[in-house]
């Protein structure tokens, strides 16, 4: 990381349907609270993806923008180069599927992904819409994952990734797990402001590129987490 942390939001013009901007705002706020200066770059799909960023974000969207986004990322190559340099990436929903080897298109036809994660996705039988709660892989040392999902995707994890979590409530990947991670890449079906509901996940991404972080006042985050987890988990 250089003197300021650079956050790169990939293709908000194509893939930003569900409040994905929230993840950008939460990363900025949590860096700022630690005295880390940030610079955020919104990369439109007609522009090249910069290779020198620290944390990259890509969000959710409809089928058509997802296919366009995958094509442009593959042609561009900037994200691949950034990941090789050691940048962190949070990929959400449609963006998560794009990172795999294949995903389902408008009519369910297979569309090639960009191969940054060893996963393959297709179309499920029905749409999964609702609150999700999941226990995170103990190796990551994070509290329960909470969020909202809205997708028809089913994702199979290959040996090159680990499940991010095991679902308590909700569908996630469709096999009892939700999301995955490998290296400094996290993928999840928790759409929109996933980091607002999971500030520890935001800190994990930040710490990968900025080193250990001191604790900050999390009371508003915690109040929301408590409310949502209470609403969906049996007490």
């Amino acid at each position: 990381m250089q003197s300021e942390l650079s956050i790169v939001w990939i293709y908000p013009d194509l893939l930003s349907t569900y409040g994905d901007q929230g993840n950008v705002l939460v990363l900025e706020q949590r860096a700022r609270a630690r005295g880390i200066r940030t610079k955020t770059i919104h990369v439109r799909s007609s522009d090249p993806v910069p290779q020198q960023g620290d944390v990259y974000l890509i969000g959710g969207g409809e089928d058509r923008p997802q296919i366009l986004g995958a094509e442009r990322l593959r042609r561009d190559g900037g994200l691949h180069a950034a990941i090789q340099r050691g940048a962190a990436l949070l990929a959400v929903c449609a963006g998560y599927q794009i990172m795999g080897t294949v995903f389902g298109g408008e009519e369910g036809q297979p569309v090639p992904g960009i191969g940054l994660l060893d996963i393959s996705s297709g179309r499920g039988e029905r749409r999964s819409v609702g609150e999700l709660a999941a226990e995170v892989d103990p190796a990551l040392g994070l509290p329960t994952l909470t969020g909202f999902e809205n997708h028809m995707g089913v994702t199979r994890l290959g040996p090159g990734v680990r499940p991010l979590s095991r679902t308590l409530v909700g569908t996630g990947n469709g096999d009892g797990t939700e999301g995955c991670y490998a290296g400094r890449i996290i993928g999840t079906y928790l759409h929109g402001p996933a980091l607002a509901r999971n500030p520890a996940l935001a800190d994990l991404l930040l710490s990968w590129v900025a080193g250990p972080l001191p604790p900050i006042d999390d009371s508003w985050y915690q109040a929301l987490r408590d409310e949502r987890l209470r609403a969906v988990l049996p007490s």
């Binding site: 569900y18 366009l68 819409v129 609702g130 607002a196 985050y221 929301l224 409310e227």
Partner: protein, 424 residues
Amino acid sequence: MSQLPLRAQLASALGRTAATLSRATGRGDGSVIGGRVGLMLEPDLLRKLAADRKLVLVSATNGKTTTTRLITSALQEFGDVATNAFGANMPAGHVSALASNKDAPYGVLEVDEKYLPEVLDTTHAGIVCLMNLSRDQMDRAAEIWLLAQKWRRALAGRPVHVIANCDDPLVTWSASTAARVTWVSAGQRWREDSWCCPECGGPLDRSGFGNGGQGLTAAQMAETNWACRECTFRRPEPTWVLDGEYVTDPRGRHWRLDLQLPGQANRANAAVALAVAETLGLDPARSLPRLRMVTSVAGRYTTVERDGRSLRLLLAKNPAGWLEAFDVADPALPIILSVNAQGPDGRDTSWLWDVDYRILRGRPVLVTGERRRDLALRLAVAEVPFQLCDSFEQAVGLLAPGKIDVIANYTAFQQIRAEFGRAV
């Protein structure tokens, strides 16, 4: 319309009885239950009730209820108009509206976006008015490009006259298959859903702004040209143009709107309403005075009094709606925000993160509603100071007597209205 077959007459009469009962027992305004009863008894009722009228369908993400009201108000210049004034905008509400005013020669129906193809198919309406499309209640899976495509298919090859806002690329794309279109430049404040060409997916080049579309001035709003960089899809030339307070009609006459309804969004609704009225033969000289008579629509923009406090109620259901509400709210006043996530609101609160709340910095902000903790965190991250309140009543009590703005999403708004006995 008095020539309805016996079965349809009976269905329509029983529906009205159910509606009366619903109102009498205080369970609702009766417009949905009445229509449901009627439709159950006679599935073809809507088609029969719609026959032989001049019918206008109004659809959009935002402004449906207000625009329906404005067009209705204008057409009353001609005589009786049947309309679903209470926002019951699915077929049961349409049946109820038309049945309760069987002899009205005109009908103006607000139509839920997802129901537009079906209602068009059933009613054979001659005029369709389309204003805007943006993200809304996403957990109900109305992905808007798919919705636009459904509109497009529904309008193709039909003898219908569409009045559409050409500043909204998705609306333009939907409307451009229709046999006849009158294009109105009514502006577009929320642009986060139209960066890509709906036809080919290429980037849309837009002029007139450089700040992501938020907080545009009237001058920036007026300069709203757009064109796809990769294909031939571009903004059609409008025959009606809204510029700030003024509307220019196809004959080049300028009309100063002077509405009582506040805000640029309502001026856009009025511009479209003027174009619809003219399509039906009503000159702005006659329709505009009627638009100016509208002061409040189903409680929206109403001011209510409590303990020396004047509360102005603004409804905002989605990010585009919040931008419009901020445009109307007075920066010098305290503001109460209330957010729920019940079925009609969408269970997902992600949209809160698409709204830029920083404009509220500097005024007292009170936060309430069933999902107040979502909003609290959102404001904390935006560094907008606020106070969390357990109830609307508590929020009101915390503020000194005087004027207060209130912005609430759908069910939160209805709860506040109910506290005031729906008198508003």
